[in-house]
């Protein structure tokens, strides 16, 4: 804390590794409490799968906030739209889903995901254009407007697809589990982890290795400066909003397949977790969001096994503890 210390080097900020130890600590602690290695491994895989899905949904939201100070309480709408679109696409493709071939199964899923992401991306554009744009810079109205948008979208989904509960079965090749020794690893969870990691990697590469990524990161740090340098931050923001909505759509497909049944209110449950995650991670930080998602999912899965009655309360406890340690979240973004 002394002022005499050497000035920090200009390039390459100090790496902050302490938060990275948290998941390890929680996993280790849970291992002691659970006792059985196979149960622990199954739970940890479940946690990772859930964490990845939550991350896919939350990453867009946190970037949207970081870039334009806009919070979208209607994010859950895109989760639901993604799930319904995937259902609409998978309906005609049922033979592919039931075929006992991994390639056909994955092809069907791939098509469904593409359709869901395209649909939610386009709707995200409309949502931004119609609802969010007129209320830039007014938090109160943003919260109200996006909440209203959520209600309208949920009701419209009921109008179009009917109000009953929907089911979406897993494709044949992804049902069941692979046994490695004594440990049963559910195939679908492995797929979810893979998709989540892929999204994280692509996002990191885009943010750190491309020009657009550079602009987005600069915009999160200081939007006015980026504008002063002649870049249209609004256009950039619309792009991020579309991408974030598409990611929520992808997350919706994954989450609906994971739960296998859903209604238009599917977004509601997840969005609560998503908010906890982005608060824990630090509003606007993708890395923090990734870590936060894993932490929340771990807490949820371990406590669901150890003390099922307090599963969601445990996430709140985690959030309060972390906020006491770092009031701005694990990886605070400058000036927020």
């Amino acid at each position: 804390m002394t002022d005499q210390a050497a000035p920090a080097p200009l390039i390459g900020p100090k790496r902050d590794l302490a938060p990275l130890l948290l998941p390890l600590a929680i996993a280790g602690f849970a291992f002691l409490l659970i006792g059985s290695p196979t149960t622990w491994l199954t739970l940890t895989l479940a946690a990772l799968a859930m964490g990845m899905m939550v991350f896919v949904i939350a990453s867009g939201l946190t970037l949207i906030f970081g870039l334009m100070d806009v919070i979208n309480f209607g994010h859950g709408a895109f989760i639901a739209i993604g799930a319904y679109l995937a259902m609409a696409v998978l309906g005609p493709l049922a033979p592919w889903m039931q075929a006992d071939s991994l390639t056909l199964n994955l092809a069907a899923l791939f098509l469904a995901i593409i359709a869901a992401m395209l649909g939610t991306g386009v709707l995200g554009y409309a949502f931004e254009r119609v609802l969010v744009r007129p209320v830039y810079g007014q938090h109160l109205k943003q919260i109200l407007i996006t909440m209203g948008g959520l209600i309208v979208v949920e009701q419209l989904l009921h109008v179009i697809f009917g109000g009953d509960q929907k089911t979406m079965a897993l494709p044949t090749a992804l049902r069941g589990a692979v046994l490695i020794g004594n440990v049963a690893l559910e195939k679908y969870r492995l797929l979810a982890v893979a998709v989540g990691l892929l999204v994280f990697l692509v996002m990191q590469l885009t943010l750190n290795r491309t020009r657009i990524g550079l602009l987005i990161r600069a915009g999160v740090e200081n939007a006015e400066m980026v504008e002063a340098l002649g870049y249209r931050i609004r256009r950039l923001f619309v792009g991020v909003f579309i991408a974030g909505s598409a990611l929520a759509g992808l997350g919706g497909v994954l989450w609906a397949l994971y739960r296998e049944t859903f209604t238009a209110a599917i977004g509601g449950d997840v969005v609560v977790l998503v908010f906890i995650v982005i608060i824990i991670g630090g509003l606007g930080s993708v890395g923090g969001c990734f870590l936060g998602a894993i932490l929340v999912a771990m807490m949820a899965n371990y406590t669901a096994f150890l003390a099922p009655k307090v599963a969601l309360a445990s996430s709140i406890l985690l959030m309060v503890t972390i906020l006491m340690w770092r009031p701005q979240g694990l990886y605070p973004v400058a000036k927020r």
Binding site: L144, I145, V152, Q155, V159, G162, I276, P308, A313, S315
Partner: protein, 365 residues
């Protein structure tokens, strides 16, 4: 006459309705609610009237937060639920007498205010967004907790309980009917709810028109300036959130007494939170009279719009999509659209519109 006007003015904390139309509308609602059991016979109508009374208190208390202080909370139904469960569980476990009701109210008030205080301390220092997200998380955790602790709360099914003798439906208070109405315990219960709600509403009105209320509005309009003038923003915000929670708890107690039942669906669910939000915004943020208008309109729509839509849906049979758009279950769609439009075009809501031309656009941050 002069004297009477002054008394009414004092009762309303000198915050009279700003236009004649608004005053007439409010008078009509007051009269309708005061005479509801006589004017609209039938169990459904009196239920609707009681619901309006209870929700006016709940919505007014939410407006103190949203409209006057400018903070969005999604945990308001949690306090409503604490009130409901406080009275409900005391009556269920300890027996149906008035002291038990009082005990339930006091315990619920203490619990609710303490919880609001803690949430406020943790999250009100930072941005409005933070508070909104944290309250959303806490409220859903509380909902799950209430459904999980089924030994205490009855879980998803909730608890039905007996209320004190005086307000039981089977009780007959008078031998002869008054204006063709049997004076049963149900009528007594209604008037208990009505007068309690009226008193609580007047308290809320007193609150927002006090110096304290003015400071809240100052904070809403310009936080930095209020701080610079020497008002501790965190202190005022936390106090506002505690007071609003206390009013919501009281509304919850009334609801439990009326329904003789407390469960997650009727008190805690997120759907009710959305309803309250819609009522405040459609009625008008930042004016308690808006809460009255918004609630009345919304509850009436909830109960009667659905019937209307059923007729419309049947009439448009055969046209694609239209019948489903007008299906009675989709009434929330229409109100959702109305909600979005009112945030854009008349942020002061119906009450604000009736009160005169809109003020200059306020900067709300």
């Amino acid at each position: 006459m002069q004297n009477g006007d002054a008394m009414i003015s004092a009762l309303l904390s000198h915050d009279l309705p700003k236009s004649k139309v608004l005053a007439a509308l409010l008078g009509l609602i007051l009269l309708g609610l005061a005479l509801a059991p006589f004017l609209f016979p039938g169990a459904a109508a009196i239920n609707t009237a009681a619901k309006i009374c209870i929700f006016i208190v709940l919505v007014a208390s939410y407006d103190i937060l949203l409209g006057y202080t400018g903070i969005v909370s999604f945990a308001h139904t949690m306090f409503f639920g604490i009130g409901g469960y406080g009275v409900g569980l005391s009556l269920y476990f300890l027996g149906a007498t008035w002291p038990i009701v009082a005990l339930g109210i006091v315990v619920a008030l203490i619990l609710g205010v303490a919880l609001a205080f803690i949430i406020g301390l943790v999250s009100l220092r930072v941005k409005a967004i933070f508070f909104a997200m944290i309250t959303l998380a806490v409220a859903s955790a509380f909902l799950i907790l209430a459904t999980q602790l089924s030994a205490l709360t009855g879980g998803e099914d909730g608890r039905s309980f007996r209320v004190p003798e005086l307000i039981r439906p089977a009780t007959k208070l008078l031998e002869t009917p008054v204006f063709g109405l049997e004076i049963t315990g149900r009528v007594a219960a209604y008037y208990l709810i009505f007068f309690a709600a009226l008193a609580l509403f007047l308290v809320a009105l007193r609150l927002v028109n006090s110096c304290f209320g003015r400071v809240l509005q100052a904070i809403r309009e310009n936080e930095l300036r209020a701080e610079a003038l020497g008002y501790r923003v965190v202190y005022y915000r936390t106090l506002a959130s505690c007071l609003s929670a206390a009013l919501a708890v009281a509304a919850g107690c009334l609801s439990a007494l009326w329904l003789r039942y407390t469960g997650p669906e009727t008190t805690l669910s997120f759907a009710i939170m959305l309803d309250v939000l819609l009522m405040v915004v459609i009625g008008g943020m930042g004016t308690l009279y808006g809460a009255v208008i918004g609630t009345t309109l919304f509850v009436l729509a909830q109960n009667y719009l659905q019937k209307l839509m059923g007729i419309a849906s049947a009439a448009t049979e055969g046209i694609p999509l239209l019948p489903r758009l007008l299906h009675p279950d989709r009434w929330l769609l229409l109100l959702g659209i109305l909600f979005v439009l009112s945030v854009y075009f008349f942020p002061t809501g119906i009450a604000g519109r009736l009160a005169g031309p809109p003020r200059k656009e306020e900067s709300q941050r």
